[in-house]
Amino acid sequence: MPVDQSLVGREFAPTTPRAVTREHVAAFAAALGAAAGEDVPPTYPIVLAFDAMQTFLAAEQIDLFRIIHGEQRFTYERPIRVGDSLTATLSVASLRQIGGADIIGTTSAIHDADGSLVCTAKATLVHTGGQS
C-alpha cells in the first residue's frame, strides 16, 4: 500500500526524552569496535532519529522490515555529551514513488532539555511495500 501523499509537511510527536548515559555511549562505541571514552560517536544521534522513525512508522502503520535506509546526514549545532537529555521530532519533508517503492524524506530535529537544537538528522527511507 503506497504511503499517503498528505504526509508531506506533517510533524509527528516528539519522542520521550532519552538520557545520554556513559554506559549507553560506551555500548554504542563498543558496537562499532571503538574503545570506550568520553567522546560520543558522531553517528550516535541515529538512536534518537530511530526513536522518531519508530513513532512515525507506528502512526502510519508501516512495518519496519519494509524500510531500507537510503540516506542519512547529521548536522551538529554542538557536540552531544554524556548527561544530555534529548528528544527527536520527525517531520516528513518529501515523498515520491519510484518503481513501486515510496521514497520518504524525513527531518528529525534533536533538542536538549533546554529546548535548544543540538543536531538535525535528515534521512531518506525507502519503503518497499508500495506494490499493491
Partner: protein, 129 residues
C-alpha cells in the same frame, strides 16, 4: 590538515555477531539485519549490515585520523548493501582525503568499499580543523 592530505586507509571486519551487537546498542531490531528469509522477502541478496553500522565505522576512521576532532557534519547515501554471510565475515575498507579547509572546518571526502564495491554514496565528514 591541508587540502590533498590522504589518510591511511583502515579496514574493519564484520560478522553476524557484530550485527547483533550493533542492533542491540543502537536499538534497531529490523530483521533484515538478522534473518535471511526476511531480507530476501524484501528483495535483498541476504542479511545486510545496518547502513548506520557502516557509516559508524567510517566515523570511527575519521576519529582515528583526526585524533577525535569534533564532527560538525557526517552523512552519506546507502548505495550498495554490505551482505554479511552466516558463519563468515566481510571487510569494510575506509579511505579519506581532505578536500577543503575553510573557516576552521575541514571537509573529508570518504570512500567506503566492501569486497571491492563502493557501498556508500558521497560519504563525507566535516570536522573542526
Amino acid at each position: 590538515m591541508i587540502p590533498g592530505d590522504v589518510f591511511e586507509p583502515i579496514s574493519y571486519e564484520l560478522t553476524r555477531a557484530d550485527l547483533v551487537a550493533y542492533a542491540e546498542a543502537a536499538g534497531d531490531p529490523n530483521p533484515i539485519h538478522q534473518d535471511e528469509d526476511v531480507a530476501r522477502s524484501v528483495g535483498l541478496p541476504g542479511v545486510i549490515a545496518h547502513g548506520m553500522l557502516t557509516l559508524g565505522l567510517a566515523g570511527r576512521a575519521v576519529s582515528t585520523w583526526t585524533g577525535g576532532a569534533e564532527v560538525v557534519e557526517v552523512g552519506c547515501k546507502f548505495t550498495n548493501p554490505v551482505v554479511v554471510p552466516a558463519g563468515g565475515s566481510v571487510e569494510v575498507h575506509v579511505s579519506g582525503t581532505v578536500k577543503k579547509v575553510e573557516d576552521g572546518l575541514a571537509t573529508i571526502a570518504l570512500e567506503v568499499t566492501c569486497e571491492g564495491t563502493k557501498v556508500l554514496g558521497m560519504p563525507k565528514a566535516v570536522v573542526r580543523a
